[in-house]
């Protein structure tokens, strides 16, 4: 039972950023001709010696691990950590840049639910289609067909074109096909995010079942820690393409929670601006540091102390500063509209330390947009620098009452005073 099913050996995957290739065949041929004739490449930027290509980016960086049979491995990490790339390599959608991936048996991958579903075909036809795409033969599907339909609770709709299905029905059917596939390895990317609670639990139960009773290996990628906790026996935490933890689930989740990218406290904002050219703005926010914490995580009521460097490129009588607070989903929460930074000389650079009271805010993640502006003679605002968002922080609520964000909003208003009681 302890056979190694999947093995990654020093696997890396490199992507080129930006547009791919020199652009056109003509462009590439031009460069080639120029090189042969010893002339200057017309596609190079002036002063450049060789075509450097686009900047490169390692989505996976020297990743090695192995998975034994029957293990249920959760792969977690924040967005861009390389989780999906890892699954894509394993399911052979794309190839690795270097390294070797070896595995035994057949892989059923569900990188997206309902791959290959054709809206015009009926549920029945699509079950066959989807099954075949996942590598089953017609005979195998026929054998399992009733199980699939029953699991998906779709007996009445199986001969209806899937374009008439609700999204929930779509997902149920697709999951059922993949779960009933005779594969040795089941690879899943956040498929349980859809479907109702009952069906989610059913899916988790099914995966538990196939792994325990049939000895199948499961690789599961999710942002939902509850499902990871429920399903997985082991956890791999990825960060910027590297494995930073490999071991038991609880510790893995702990590592992931503390390793959130957006909890950083030092921000370099010198190149970040919504203005087209951050180097040419008349005033610029250069950097920002949260001073009183190692991670940008606050208890309600704690103060947020931060320091920001601001550079003026012309003379200002009154340079002004605006602090816009938004929730993680970009819904505006509130704004400190006008902070007067006073006189700034041209070329002057000042560091301002400020304090913000967070006791109004309820638990959750907030993002801050910072704007530098000036009021002109007509009293209207002229924005010089907009950093959207400049930084982020999280608030944890010590109070044990459950704050209903959807109904109550993000701000806890001050208590109501009794004037009289009769």
């Amino acid at each position: 039972m302890q056979d190694i099913m999947i093995q990654f050996e020093h696997v890396s995957k490199e992507y080129r950023l930006g547009a791919i290739g020199g652009g056109t065949l003509r462009g590439d041929l031009q460069s080639l001709m120029a090189r042969i004739r010893g002339k200057e490449d017309p596609n190079l930027q002036i002063g450049q010696k060789v075509y450097a290509g686009n900047p490169r980016f390692l989505a996976l960086n020297d990743v090695s691990f192995s998975v034994k049979q029957g293990e249920r491995v959760g792969i977690i990490g924040h967005n861009g950590a390389g989780k999906s790339t890892l699954l894509k390599l394993l399911s052979r959608v794309t190839g690795p840049t270097c390294g070797t991936i070896s595995y035994n048996g057949r892989i059923a991958s569900m990188l997206e639910v309902g791959t290959g579903f054709h809206p015009e075909l009926t549920g029945r036809e699509n079950v066959y289609m989807n099954g075949a795409i996942l590598g089953m033969t017609k005979a195998e599907i026929t054998k399992k067909f009733n199980d699939i339909v029953q699991f998906a609770e779709m007996e009445n709709f199986i001969d209806t074109p899937v374009k008439r299905y609700s999204s929930g029905m779509y997902v149920k059917l697709a999951f059922a096909v993949a779960a009933h596939l005779d594969s040795d390895i089941l690879v899943m990317d956040e498929v349980l995010a859809v479907g109702d609670m009952k069906f989610q639990q059913k899916c988790l139960g099914k995966m538990d079942d196939v792994s325990k009773n049939e000895g199948r290996t499961v690789l599961y990628v999710s942002h939902n820690m509850n499902t990871v906790r429920q399903l997985c026996t082991r956890c791999i935490v990825l960060d910027h393409g590297r494995i930073i933890f490999d071991g038991d689930t609880e510790t893995g989740i702990g590592v992931y929670m503390n390793n959130r990218d957006d909890m950083q406290t030092i921000y370099d904002l010198s190149a970040k601006s919504s203005k087209p050219d951050p180097k040419a703005t008349q005033a610029k926010i250069l950097s920002l540091r949260i001073m009183n914490k190692d991670a940008a995580l606050f208890q309600t009521g704690e103060e947020l102390v931060f320091e920001t460097d601001i550079l003026a490129r012309k003379h200002f009588e009154h340079l002004r500063f605006r602090f816009e607070l938004r929730y993680a989903d970009d819904v505006p929460v509130g704004t400190v509209p006008d902070i007067d930074l006073g006189v700034m000389e041209s070329g002057e650079r000042k560091t301002f330390q400020m304090r913000f009271d967070t006791s109004w805010l309820t638990r959750g993640k907030y993002r801050v947009y910072l704007v530098l502006f000036e009021k002109n003679e007509f009293g209207t605002c002229e924005d010089h620098d907009l950093v959207l968002p400049a930084f982020a922080f999280s608030i944890e609520d010590q109070n044990d009452i459950t704050w209903n964000v959807n109904a109550w909003g993000h701000i806890k208003l001050p208590d109501i005073d009794f004037i009289s009681v009769q």
């Binding site: 190694i4 093995q7 590439d28 190839g95 595995y103 290959g116 289609m129 795409i133 590598g135 017609k138």
Partner: protein, 281 residues
């Protein structure tokens, strides 16, 4: 542990000749399902259904007959020119639709190919096969006309060479598959070639005796002209069903060689590209 204990190994580079035909065979059911899907979804919610397969070549043939046959007078004498053009245009039509459809394999199916793995050759093969269905409909339609001409005593002489029809079809299918997958493999990086395909096919048609009779080609250019691998197939097709022209056996043999070479090159190129095309498409 040793490397060779694993059944499957994924490595960055793949050898040129590492074509996994066994795997392709395992996915044969998928090929058939794709054929079915293409055909069924093509004619769903249309009133005329598969009749559309006839309308297009019929109109093309009418135009060819009127413009090139009657006005320009490029059809051979004796044979009913409608039959002459219908015969040529269904053969050419099969080739050109297969070619255009397979040439977009990667770009058109990027969504599905980016989500799940199956042997990529499944897609172009199923395309070529599904076009066979339309061809079959058109072919029956052609046979009806042929029958009508035979009854009315027109000068058409079908001969025993009609038994070779399946070979001709396979020939056209393989050739269009070969050219199509070469184009699809190259267009993953450079889209330029995709632009060429649509009018390239048009030009290719004029290099093939579809709109005119082959006897109009001057003798000294004939050898060069016959290098076009589609030409001998089309002339053979006409010779078998209408008894017009001559079979050109040598050219036909060469055409097979070219076809196999193109197909081999196509499969190798395709195989080379399929692994990482998702990153460049």
């Amino acid at each position: 542990m040793e490397m060779n204990q694993f059944e499957n190994v994924i490595t960055p580079k793949r050898a040129w000749f590492d074509v996994n035909l066994k795997e392709l065979w395992r996915y044969r059911d998928l090929i058939l399902l794709f054929v079915r899907r293409t055909f069924v979804s093509q004619y769903k919610q249309t009133i005329l259904g598969p009749a559309w397969a006839i309308i297009q070549p019929l109109l093309t043939t009418v135009v060819l007959t009127v413009v090139f046959g009657n006005i320009a007078g490029l059809a051979p004498a004796g044979v009913p020119s409608f039959a002459f053009y219908l015969c040529g245009s269904i053969a050419w039509g099969y080739f050109s639709t297969c070619l255009t459809a397979t040439s977009t394999t990667f770009t058109a199916n990027a969504a599905i190919l980016g989500k799940v793995y199956f042997p990529r050759l499944v897609m172009p093969i199923s395309t070529v096969l599904s076009q066979l269905i339309s061809f079959a409909v058109q072919f029956c339609f052609f046979l009806l006309f042929l029958f009508y001409y035979l009854m009315t005593g027109a000068n058409v002489q079908p001969n025993l060479w009609i038994l070779i029809t399946p070979v001709l079809l396979v020939h056209l299918a393989l050739l269009s598959l070969g050219v199509g997958i070469i184009v699809s493999a190259v267009t993953t990086k450079y889209r330029d070639l995709a632009m060429v395909v649509s009018f390239g096919v048009q030009l290719w048609m004029y290099a093939t005796p579809v709109a005119y009779d082959i006897t109009l080609i001057p003798e000294r250019f004939l050898n060069l002209y016959m290098l076009n691998p589609v030409t001998p197939v089309v002339t053979m097709f006409r010779y078998a069903f209408l008894g017009v022209g001559e079979p050109h056996f040598a050219a036909y043999g060469i055409s097979w060689l070219v076809t196999l070479a193109v197909l081999l090159l196509g499969v190798l190129l395709f195989n080379r590209v399929e692994k990482t095309f998702m990153d460049t498409v």
